[in-house]
C-alpha cells in the first residue's frame, strides 16, 4: 500500500535537528532581521536579492535551465490571458480596476494586508474573488486557472516594486494574525513530522533526494508560479497545499484563515525584496 512507502524517509525527519535558540516573543521586524542575518551568514556569497530566485540562488546547473525557461517563459500565456480577464468588464459594467487602489496596476507589494474592520488578513487572490462577489460574479477557484492568471497579470504589473507588508503594532488583532502565521511556519505537522522551516530554513540550499530546497527568505516574491511539474500557473496557496501533502499532512482549504495568516507572515519575511513574479520553477 502506498502509504507504507514513506517509512524510508522517516529518519530524515528525526535527523534534521532542532538547532535554534528560543525567542518566540520578538516582533515582526526582529523576526525578519533574524532571518536575513541567518541567510547572510550561511550563504555569504549569495547576494540578498538572489534569494528571490529560490533554489536557483544555490544551484548553477538548475539555474542555467531556469534562465533558458525565463528567456521565453510559458507564464507569458497566463499574463496575456490574465490581462484580458482583468480588463473584461463584469455584467454590471464595472471591472477589477474599480476594486483596487490605482486601478489594480502595480499593487501586489501591499498584499496581504490586515483588514481592521473584518479582523482578518486579506490576500490579493482573496480580494480578486471578493471583487467578483461584490459585482455579482461567480467565485473562481483559488489555485489555478483564471484567478491565477489574473493574479499573474497583477504581479507582472507590480514587478520591481518593493514588498511592503505591514503589521501594525498598535493593532493587537493584526499582531495576533502574524503570530499565528509564524506559529504555523515553525510547527511540525503531518506523518513526516516536518515544519515549513525543516525544508526551507534549516535545509535551504541542501538537497532532499533529488530536489534542491529553496529559502524562506524571498519565498513570497515571485507568485504565481508556472511549475513544470504542474504544467500550468498556480498560486502561492496551491504551493502551501502541495507542501502539506509532501510531508503527508492533509492540506487546508485555499484562503483558509490559517493559510492567509501563513502568507501574511511569509510575505512579511520578504519585505524589502523586489517583486519578480510571475516566475517559472521546476
Amino acid at each position: 500500500m502506498g502509504y507504507r512507502v514513506i517509512k524510508k524517509i522517516l529518519p530524515l525527519s528525526i535527523f534534521i535537528g532542532l538547532t535554534f535558540a528560543a525567542s518566540a516573543m520578538a516582533g515582526p521586524e526582529e523576526d525578519r532581521l533574524a532571518i536575513v542575518k541567518y541567510y547572510a551568514e550561511r550563504f555569504p556569497d549569495v547576494p540578498l536579492q538572489e534569494f528571490a530566485n529560490g533554489l536557483y540562488a544555490f544551484d548553477e546547473d538548475a539555474r542555467e535551465q531556469w534562465i533558458e525557461m525565463e528567456d521565453f517563459p510559458p507564464y507569458e500565456i497566463a499574463i496575456e490571458d490574465g490581462q484580458a480577464l482583468f480588463e473584461a468588464p463584469f455584467a454590471n459594467g464595472k471591472s477589477y480596476a474599480d476594486c483596487f487602489a490605482n486601478g489594480g496596476i502595480g499593487v501586489r507589494q501591499d498584499y496581504p494586508y490586515f483588514d481592521t474592520d473584518a479582523g482578518e488578513v486579506m490576500t490579493l487572490e482573496l480580494m480578486i474573488n471578493r471583487c467578483r462577489e461584490s459585482n455579482g460574479e461567480e467565485l473562481l477557484p483559488y489555485q489555478i486557472g483564471d484567478l491565477a492568471a489574473i493574479s499573474a497579470y497583477m504581479a507582472y504589473t507590480s514587478r520591481g516594486n518593493t514588498i511592503n507588508v505591514k503589521v501594525p503594532q498598535d493593532n493587537p488583532a493584526a499582531v495576533a494574525a502574524y503570530e499565528t502565521g509564524k506559529q504555523y511556519y515553525y510547527t511540525r505537522r503531518g506523518q513526516l513530522n516536518f515544519a515549513c522551516i525543516s525544508c526551507h530554513l534549516q535545509s535551504a540550499g541542501l538537497k532532499l533526494r533529488a530536489d534542491r530546497l529553496s529559502s524562506s527568505l524571498g519565498h513570497a516574491t515571485h507568485w504565481p508560479v508556472y511549475r513544470s511539474k504542474w504544467g500550468e500557473i498556480g498560486t502561492l496557496q496551491k504551493r502551501f497545499a502541495e507542501c502539506n501533502v509532501q510531508v503527508f499532512s492533509k492540506p487546508l482549504e485555499a484562503q483558509s484563515i490559517e493559510y492567509r495568516n501563513l502568507e501574511y507572515f511569509l510575505t512579511y519575511m520578504s519585505n524589502g525584496f523586489e517583486l519578480n513574479g510571475p516566475a517559472t520553477r521546476r
Binding site: 546547473d61 535551465q65 531556469w66 533558458e68 525557461m69 533529488a210 511539474k229
Partner: protein, 148 residues
C-alpha cells in the same frame, strides 16, 4: 464592440493565411519514424545511413534535467549546406523528438524544449551535404516527463 470586430478581422486574416499555405511541405513529415520505438531504427529509417560522430555538431543540454517534462536543448553546427537537424532521445517510448528542416536561408541553430521519460542518451543529428553527423550526451532525469 471594437474588440469583437478586431477578433473577427483577425479570424478572417487567419483563414486567408491557411488557404494560402503551401500544402506540399506538410506531406513530408516522416510519420512512421515518429512511431518507431527503437532509436537505432529511427536513425536508419530517417537517413538510410549511419551517422559519423562530429565535434562540429554542438548540443547544449543539461547534465541533470531539472524536470523531464521540460528539458531545454540547443543544437548548433559549423557544417555547411545543412539540410536538417534532428533530436533523438534513446530511452523515450518513441525516440524521435523533433526534426527541423533547414532552408537555404537558415542559420543552422535551433532550440526547443523536450520531454524525457527517464535518464537517457540524447543524440543530435545534422544532415549536411548528403552526409549525417551526430553528437551524443547523457542526460540524467530525476522527475520523468511522460507520466506526470
Amino acid at each position: 464592440m471594437n474588440a469583437h470586430r478586431r477578433l473577427v478581422l483577425k479570424g478572417m486574416f487567419a483563414l486567408a493565411a491557411i488557404a494560402a499555405w503551401p500544402r506540399l511541405l506538410l506531406a513530408a513529415r516522416p510519420d512512421s519514424v515518429f512511431q518507431e520505438t527503437d532509436a537505432d531504427k529511427v536513425i536508419a529509417d530517417l537517413f538510410g545511413q549511419a551517422p559519423t560522430d562530429s565535434d562540429q555538431v554542438m548540443m547544449k543540454i543539461p547534465d541533470i534535467a531539472e524536470n523531464g517534462a521540460v528539458v531545454p536543448v540547443t543544437i548548433k553546427t559549423d557544417l555547411e549546406n545543412v539540410e536538417s537537424i534532428s533530436i533523438v532521445v534513446v530511452n523515450n517510448p518513441t525516440p524521435l523528438a523533433a526534426s527541423f528542416i533547414m532552408s537555404p536561408r537558415s542559420v543552422p541553430t535551433v532550440s526547443v524544449r523536450i520531454k524525457m521519460g527517464e535518464s537517457s542518451q540524447v543524440v543530435a543529428l545534422v544532415k549536411a551535404g548528403g552526409a549525417v553527423y551526430s553528437t551524443t550526451k547523457e542526460v540524467k532525469v530525476t522527475i520523468g516527463g511522460c507520466g506526470g
